[in-house]
Symmetry: C2
Subunit: 155 residues, 2 copies
């Protein structure tokens, strides 16, 4: 069988691949926590985290802050509501919109998961002792902020 087809390309150095793998590895352990303890998906966790951190707001606000698709937010909100962790109240200014907020249940879950997230993040970073995290964070943020719409070779 033919061996090397494209000597220039190496998946192991391909930044999207590296990032995706690193993200999966880093997320896996925490995912187990919110899944096992509360039966939540990642989207639900992220919606909860935003509501917990920033307080009540509309689904649209969550979309803007978190860059999650509105359909994902819609379903996550419905699921959190079914689980009695989130409540809706009508907006006074716009009858299309609903103000979302965490219930006591939801706040308790967020307090719990927030603590665990802090611990988890600390353990993760500690396990990578000696790395330059300030630089890492800067680079990751720079990458996140890109909207790489089929970026041309010339960047």
């Amino acid at each position: 069988m033919p061996k090397p087809a494209n000597p220039r390309f190496d998946l192991q150095d391909f930044l999207p691949y590296l990032l995706t793998q690193a993200a999966e590895a880093a997320s896996q352990g925490f995912q187990q926590i919110y899944r096992d303890r509360y039966g939540m998906t990642r989207t639900q966790w992220r919606v909860m985290a935003n509501l917990g951190k920033f307080g009540a707001m509309t689904a649209r606000d969550i979309c803007e802050i978190s860059h999650i698709e509105k359909t994902k937010v819609s379903r996550a909100v419905a699921a959190l509501e079914r689980a009695a962790m989130l409540q809706r109240s009508p907006s006074e200014h716009d009858r299309r919109a609903e103000i979302l907020s965490l219930t006591e249940n939801g706040l308790a879950a967020f307090a719990d998961l927030g603590e665990r997230a802090v611990d988890y993040d600390l353990a993760l970073r500690r396990s990578l002792r000696g790395k330059d995290f300030a630089e890492l964070n800067r680079v990751l943020r720079a990458i996140m902020s890109q909207r790489l719409a089929a970026m041309p070779p010339e960047g």
Copy 2:
């Protein structure tokens, strides 16, 4: 509505979140390329990349190298075969296994996408000029190599 629930936790500094967002942003543009040009999914692209880079091997080998679930590999292989980009031949030593390899079609697609991947990666890194990529790669690889099975707070 209540505002701050957990002052210690900030999603914006949570490493799994940063990595996931960065990975999505970095992958999006290239995903469009293999999707629009060949109708491929990410898993199919990754299977192809491994076969293209390392030559013929079994599905099991691909699983080990790439850490993709065997069912994902199985379906990606089936899809690539349907698209005439991959062929199977029986293993001589083990009648359960099949040796997978790219067809001429598949090799051509890999050559094309490999070139584009190199360009894309270059453009992506160039757009982040001034960052320490050696350090970034080291950190990402360190994170990837972790198997963080619900890691305890003490790391």
